[in-house]
Structures are given as C-alpha cells and as structure tokens.
Symmetry: C2
Subunit: 392 residues, 2 copies
C-alpha cells in the first residue's frame, strides 16, 4: 500500500518517454482534501536542483495540492532554462487540475526530479509538459494507481518502495520512496512522498516529519555522497475524523520512514552486504551518530566487509577521527555477535565471525548511555562498475 492508502489522495504514473528503457517516468500525487497541509524537508546540499529551489518556495506557506515527480533527468545544473521547466511543470499541472474542477494555483504544486545531473533540455521539458494533462486525467484512489506512481519514480532502483501503517485510532499513513545511489545524509538521493488522512495541523505535521526523518532517512549513508535533489514531502488530507495523538502520529510516521529507509538500504547500488553500525555507550546521541557515520564512510572498512573480513582495526581507526567523547584505550567492537575487540585490543578470535547479507557492527565507547545506528553498504566491484558506467 502506497500514497493512496489514506483517504483523500489520488495518484497516477505513466510513461512520458524520459527514460530510454520506456518504463514509467512521470508521477502525480493529489491531495483532494479537505486539508491541504504540507511539510517538507530538502537536501542540505548548497548546489540544489531546480525542482528543489521551486518546491522550497512553494511549500513555504505550508500548503500544497499536489506533487509532480519525474525520473529520467534530475533537472539539476540546467540553469535558467531548467528552472523555467519546473515553473512550467507546476503551471501546466495547476491548469489541468483547474480544468478538471479543482481550482489550483501553480504555487500549490510541488515538483521533484531524479536521474542524471545536467539532464533537463528541450526534449525533457516537452515530454513532461505534453504528458501532464493525461497524467491528471489518469489519477485514481486505487492501490494500483499508488503502485503506478511509485514505479514512475524509479531510477536504478530494482523495486518500487512503498509502505503504510494504520493507527489504532483508524487513520492511515502511506508513502512511496525512490533511491539507490548517492545515499547520504541530508537526506540521501531520495524522493519520498508520504500521505496521511489524519487531521494534523501544519506545525505539528512539520515537527513530526523532522523528528521522523532525523532518525530514519538521515541515518542512511550508503556512499557518503549527498544528492542535489533529495526531497521528503508529507501531506495531510485530514479526511479521517479520528482524534489524533501527535506523539502516536510521530511514532507511526517514523515507522513508515524506517520501513521505506530499509527498503532503500537493501536496494543500494552494487551492495553485497547491508551494514548496520550501532554506537552505544556514547556521551550524546550526536556523538553516537558521528561515530557510526565515520565508520559508515570508511572505504577501507567497507571494502573489508565486502571481503567478509571482520577488520575491527579499521573501525577503531575511524572512531579516532571523530570529535566524540571517548577514551582511546577503552573501545569495544562486536561484529555479528563476536566481540573481536575489547578495550581497543584484540579479544575474541575474528575467525569466529560468520557473514550473511546483513552485517551488524556494535561499537561501545563506554562514555555514556546514548546510542544510534547508521546504515550503510559495503564497497564492492559492482558499486565501482555501476558508478563508473552510470552516465554512459
């Protein structure tokens, strides 16, 4: 179940011809209300793609009626022409929605793009604009329509990613995501649209989204590379009557975000092992995140895991590069349940470590009580291959 799982949303996905593969590449999600509250978080990359520049402005007032998304071109570093394409995309969508009976302004339309940087010329523009009216006409509230929308944002993703949860109160949160490479914090190369029919006002929506992404998407760091197009959008239709406990809502939203994040994780480009790096005994949550992330970014550690080598020395060496609070002689490292390093020295025999697809690294700093997990992938021949050949 995807973006159409909650009441008050319709969606569609079709082929506009942006991808050589001929698969779906244009996606639309409409919030039919009654509420049009929206919250969004965007990449912290200072060199942002045109759709991000547009959507940041358009979502600033906390209202949005629909999100148009395309794969097959990031419309990033495409200059004024590219920004104009995004503006025209919003305009054309608003016109089609108005013609269909929902009075809509261009500023109520958010736009997301994904694909190669630098792609966004005349052919790209024409393909999108000419397919927006049929896209609006195709929208529906069915499960299939939600699936179509999720499929149309795939790039190197091997599967469409969707997730949903229903609260005990009866309202629903449902979303879709794409992302397989350039996954790093702030947020990861991901486009995510999450909908809910819960009656949540905009400030609460915004707060819940920031809390949930902070502990999910922001902790996926497959290759240390921060995208130019990352966007996570949360829309509320308010179409369900149930009273909403905002704490429960945030918790449920985090579950949906973590579910989508794990789907992104296991589908990361070229990965052979899905690695969870947990730092515990930290003096603060920020310290725990910093330490886990430093290990997640070590090319040497990631290559070792590819070779199924429980190389704890490369873990401790990365911990040493951080500013976290710890005693350099008191670090423990456990890999897949075997404590290979105790007090910064060898302990259990590394030969005892067995490997499967999922790898669990636990670092204990013995400096406090906080803990955090960062998820990453191993560094493989397939990663090198996919990313050396991606644009050719």
């Amino acid at each position: 179940m995807s973006v159409t799982a909650p009441l008050g949303f319709s969606a569609a996905g079709l082929t506009a011809g942006l991808k050589p593969s001929g698969t779906k590449d244009l996606s639309l999600v409409i919030n039919t209300g009654p509420s049009d509250a929206v919250a969004a978080v965007y990449t912290s990359n200072r060199c942002k793609a045109n759709p991000v520049l547009w959507s940041q402005k358009a979502s600033a007032d906390g209202h949005a009626r629909a999100v148009v998304l395309n794969s097959g071109g990031a419309n990033c570093y495409t200059g004024d022409f590219g920004y104009e394409t995004t503006t025209l995309t919003a305009q054309t969508t608003a016109e089609a929605l108005t013609a269909a009976g929902t009075d809509t302004k261009p500023e109520d339309i958010l736009v997301c793009s994904t694909g190669l940087i630098g792609v966004g010329g005349q052919g790209f523009r024409d393909a999108i604009l000419s397919h927006l009216p049929p896209l609006v006409a195709a929208t529906d509230t069915t499960v299939e329509a939600g699936q179509d929308a999720a499929e149309a944002i795939m790039t190197t993703d091997t599967v469409a990613k969707t997730a949903s949860r229903e609260s005990t109160a009866g309202y629903t949160i449902g979303g879709m995501a794409k992302g397989a490479g350039m996954l790093a914090p702030g947020l990861a190369t991901m486009l995510v649209v999450i909908n809910t029919d819960a009656k949540v006002d905009q400030p609460a929506l915004d707060q819940a989204l920031r809390a949930a992404t902070n502990q999910s998407f922001d902790r996926l760091d497959t290759d240390g590379c921060m995208s130019t197009n990352d966007t996570v959008i949360l829309m509320s239709s308010g179409a369900h009557d149930a009273a909403v406990d905002t704490q429960e809502f945030t918790s449920l939203l985090r579950e949906v975000c973590l579910d989508l994040m794990h789907q992104l994780h296991v589908d990361a480009e070229g990965a052979h092992h899905d690695i969870a790096i947990t730092t515990r005994g930290a003096a603060s949550e920020a310290d725990a995140v910093e330490v886990s992330r430093s290990v997640a970014r070590s090319a040497l550690f990631k290559a070792a895991i590819f070779g199924e080598d429980p190389n704890w020395g490369r873990v401790v060496a990365q911990v040493g590069t951080t500013a976290a609070a710890f005693d350099p002689t008191a670090i423990d490292v456990t890999i897949n349940g075997v404590q290979v390093c105790k007090a910064s020295g060898p302990y259990e025999d590394p030969e005892r470590v067995t490997f499967e697809r999922s790898v669990d690294v636990v670092i204990d700093l013995h400096a406090g009580t906080d803990t955090a997990t960062v998820w990453t992938s191993d560094l493989t021949h397939d990663y090198v291959e996919e990313n050396s050949a991606y644009s050719s």
Copy 2:
C-alpha cells in the same frame, strides 16, 4: 639519494622476519651530529599506534639521535604489551649505540611501525629486538645504506621512495617515505624520515616542517582514511658549515616533501588514475582546500574517473556539501583542459575530454583569489580487491 645524502647521517635496513615475503622490514637512521635537533608531526587520529605515543613523548624535547622503523606490523591497538615493545625497541637500540661508542638514552630514539593494525605480539617483539644489534652494526653513510633503509619500510608500496635536494649554499636535504593506502590528511598512512646537514635550530626546523607538510603530505587524500601510525620526522645534523636562509630552507624542504608525496600518490593502492583537484578563485586557502578535498572524497566522482567519465555534475554536487564561500550558480569545472561546466551548467562537450593516467580537475569558485590542490586516486576494482583481501 635518500636519508644518507646529507652529511652526518648513517642508515641500514635488513630482514628481521616480520613479513611473510622475507623482504627487508627493519630500518634505522642515525644522526651522528654534531646537532641532534629533531622536529616531527604525527597523525591527528585520536586512536594512535604505540610507536606514535612513544615518539611524541620522545621528540617533545626537540632532540633525537636515531629513528628505528619497521614494516610488517603496525603495533597499533596492541595494548600495554605493544607499548612495552616500543619502549624495549628504543632501549635496545640505545644500548647498542652506546656499546658502539655513542652514549645514547632510550628517549633519544624515535620508533615508527607500519603494517596491519592489531599485529604486535611476542613473535613481532622478539624478531625486532634480536635484530637491533646487527642493524646498528650494519649502519653506513653510503647511498646503498640509505636505499636499504628506504626498502625496509615498504608495505604494499611497489617501489622505495626517496628524494633529495642540494641548496645553492651547499647543504642537502634528503629523505625517504612509505605509504600506499589509507592516505588521508593528518597525514596519510605514511612514514617519512627527512634529514639535513643544514645548521637549523630546533624551533626553525619545527616551523619549516609544519609549513612544508601542510602544503604537501596533508594534501594527499587517496581514500579519505586517516592512519593511526603516520609520522614525519625531520632531523638536522648541522654537519654542513653553510649559513642557512630559513626561507630558502623551508622552500627546499617543501620541494623534497612534494617530491616524496607525488611518489606516494602515483603508487597508491589500486589506482588507475592520479587525480589533481585544484580549486581556484576561492575566498581563502582553507576554502580552496576544503572544496578540493570534498571532491577528492566523493566515491561517485572517483568511480566516474575510473570509467573515464568527465562527470562534472558529481564535482558540483560535492562543492555544494562544503561551507566554502561561493555562488551555487557561478561554478566552473574544467577537466583535462576542457571546460565542461560554466556557471554551474553544461558548457563544452564532455566528449572532447581525453584521459591518460594523470587527470587534472580545476574548479573555479569565482569568490576570491586563493588556490589549492589536493591529490587523490580513482576508485577502482583493484582498490576494492586489495582492501577486501589485505589482511587475509
């Protein structure tokens, strides 16, 4: 010409049996004076190897008589036993030097180790200690002795690295280096010993070394991984009578450092392309270094260069992750002389870029007049292979 190029130095290298290959693995460089001034810089990794912990203390007074170096084991994260091994190494060397007629204290001996983290047990200790007396006996001032010393510190290096320069005033600076992987700032996995017969007092020696390493070894960043054992030592014998201009000395020292750095660069593990990333038009030198380094650390950019894909989008996306001063719409990127990106958009046809072993990336921020180069390697199948199998 290596560490024995200047007057007042002798050296030796032999096989102690630390490496399965049976090649030379124990190295000694002696400053026979008259001066015993020393300056040194060490890894900024907070989890330091035992020899670094020892040498930091031993060099703090600005005096040292000799440096003992081994390959075949980093003696890092080997606990109290490992630290004791380093102490015993210094002690045994001092005793052997004293027996040979040069009164020496253990605190006058610096120790460096390189090889696998976690290696430094009883066998390692016994092999080193038993071979120190013959090592002292073998020291000589010849070119060959300097070459032996340089060969004995090699790990995955394919060639011994040495360099020397003679000043117009007549004094000489000569050094040796090792390092092929884990090359990243603060300093890189490198051991470097540089000698001079110039009469330079300790404070000037220290200042010159910091200035020279800051613009050479600190700007080599092959894989973003910071070592636990990095050490650069500069010894002055003061055996040459010439008056020394400290500015000329620093400049000559930087030349030697850059020469050794480039030798490390072209011998980096698994590299197929040697990449120089120059940022110009920066508001400060620190900004230029930050921007160049951010690109040097992008797995996606490095994989693209392996595939000989002039993917400027991945360059601009990395620039966007920095805190440097720039206008996101005004960035130029030139790869091997072809300006593929102007004002953050496509410009010359990337098809025009041709590739050889050496790759030149120039980023212009148009934000000032400062410039800096960081050197890195591409991300290749060979890098993944070497580092996934290194410890097995």
